[in-house]
């Protein structure tokens, strides 16, 4: 295909990505309590805005570095990515080299919404915005610089770089590990665990939002994976149909796997875990969306859908991590599975070790960094709202108005006293 057609197609794919941000936000709102619905959505908008501005200001300069590093496909060799500097001041916006910058801006917006799902209901909006400065300004760009530009592989020429076309690692695992760090720093919601450590089942306030959010996220993920495959995995525009079918099949298989596992374990299929299964399939498909065969994508999805159910249960029951939206299981655990699956199934010599290097960097460098930075920030600007604010609901406490002022809002009558 000509460069013009590839450019147009890639631009259309990138334009789809904001629906993934909307979908993720809607899932978070639906899985949270009605008393914090407006706060969830407002926080999502705020963190997206902060992430875009911070990444534009200096995150982009960190991720692209001070030297030219072609990102493949569209930008190589015709138009190598130039160092853009702070505020992207050297970016040639009228060329094809601007596409990776647009994709990165959209990617960082998705990454910034992920921690809200795990930490919402008890996380101040101002603290969430400050934490996003760390995520979008340092953590996300540094990992992208290390892995997506194949910086780590440069010392070992026979080792290919970590393959992560749609961002299983640099978007999802980065966001998921940040979510886990913040959840630990915040502690569980009031009344979530009894004195003996038995968790209370706090129901989602609107399952329709959650399931509609999954459908919106699907559309966005098709754009994310397709654009990522073209710009980061060297996949041609003619390969887009394969990327789209892989993404869709993986999500479908994962949702059905989650439905089957919850049906067997709890006697009824669980709507929120099926939604998590759908999301897990999308996340796991991202890394290898351009390299898998469709049958492999189904296997990856089946494993992801099964994994997310057990992982969510393990985090909640065994580790006492209170993650209302399952963000850690969906994004961190299934993102890691997506990275590993590329090493297992891609059939590229040396790719398995390359994926292990990517995973080792996420766990051994990004996780301590995101925990340490958030721990430090929490010392200066406490993340958690007051117990009264939590009982009242963050809508009234932080925004002064409910999301549903004309309806009866439920209190915590389902919690253990």
């Amino acid at each position: 295909m000509s460069v013009e057609i590839s450019f147009t197609l890639c631009l259309v794919f990138i334009l789809l990505i904001p629906t993934a941000v909307a979908g993720l936000s809607l899932i978070n709102v639906g899985l949270g309590p009605s008393r914090s619905a407006a706060h969830f959505m407002t926080s999502s908008l705020c963190v997206v805005a902060v992430s875009l501005l911070i990444y534009f200001a200096f995150g982009g300069a960190i991720s692209q570095g001070l030297y030219s590093t072609p990102l493949m496909a569209l930008t190589e060799p015709k138009s190598p990515l130039q160092p853009s500097g702070i505020f992207f001041h050297a970016m040639p916006w009228a060329t094809v080299a601007a596409l990776p910058a647009l994709l990165m801006l959209a990617s960082v917006a998705i990454c910034s919404v992920i921690p809200l799902g795990a930490a919402g209901v008890r996380w101040r909006a101002s603290s969430a915005s400050l934490s996003t400065v760390l995520l979008a300004g340092f953590i996300f760009p540094i990992f992208f610089r290390l892995i997506a530009t194949q910086y780590l592989a440069s010392g070992f020429p026979r080792l290919p770089g970590t393959l992560d076309a749609g961002g299983s690692g640099f978007i999802n695992v980065t966001g998921g590990l940040t979510a886990l760090s913040i959840t630990w720093l915040l502690g569980p919601r009031h009344g979530k665990y009894s004195l003996s450590g038995i968790p209370a089942a706090i129901p989602a306030h609107n399952a329709v939002y959650v399931l509609f959010g999954c459908m919106l996220t699907w559309v966005g993920w098709l754009g994310l994976n397709s654009a990522g495959a073209m710009l980061y995995a060297g996949s041609g525009a003619e390969n887009s149909a394969l990327v789209i079918i892989n993404t869709t099949l993986s999500a479908a298989a994962a949702a059905l796997a989650a439905a089957a596992v919850t049906r067997i374990r709890y006697r009824r299929p669980d709507a929120s875990l099926i939604a998590n299964g759908w999301m897990a399939g999308l996340v796991a498909s991202s890394a290898g969306c351009a390299t898998f065969k469709p049958t492999i994508a189904i296997i990856v999805g089946l494993v992801a859908g099964t994994l997310v159910v057990f992982s969510a249960e393990w985090f909640e029951l065994r580790l006492r991590v209170d993650d209302p939206c399952g963000s850690v299981s969906v994004h961190a655990v299934c993102g890691l599975w997506g990275l590993l699956a590329v090493g297992i199934f891609a059939g590229i010599p040396g790719q398995f070790m390359a994926q292990i290097v990517g995973i080792a960097t996420l766990l051994g460098f990004i996780f301590p960094m995101t925990y340490g930075l958030n721990w430090l920030l929490n010392k200066f600007s406490p993340y958690r709202v007051s117990p009264d604010g939590e009982r009242q609901g963050l809508d009234l406490h932080e925004l002064g108005a409910d999301a549903y002022p004309e309806f009866v809002i439920h209190s915590d009558e389902f919690l253990q006293r």
């Binding site: 780590l152 080792l159 006492r320 070790m353 080792a360 051994g364 996780f367 301590p368």
Partner: protein
């Protein structure tokens, strides 16, 4: 224990990066796996450190 866990995570990554940069390519995979093993130990420590202490019912 928490700090020890995070230090082990960083040490494991250090082993991986050092192996990539310094070692001969035949020995690199073994050192990468060794680094990951150290990271897994660190991860287990971090997870255990975050488990709340058991409380009595009284």
């Amino acid at each position: 224990m928490k700090l020890g866990g995070f230090l082990l995570l960083l040490s494991g990554w250090g082993i991986v990066v050092t192996a990539l940069v310094l070692l001969h390519r035949r020995t690199v995979p073994a050192f990468i796996l060794a680094g990951v093993a150290v990271e897994i130990l660190g991860l287990v420590l971090v997870l255990r450190a975050h488990l709340p202490a058991p409380k009595g019912k009284g």
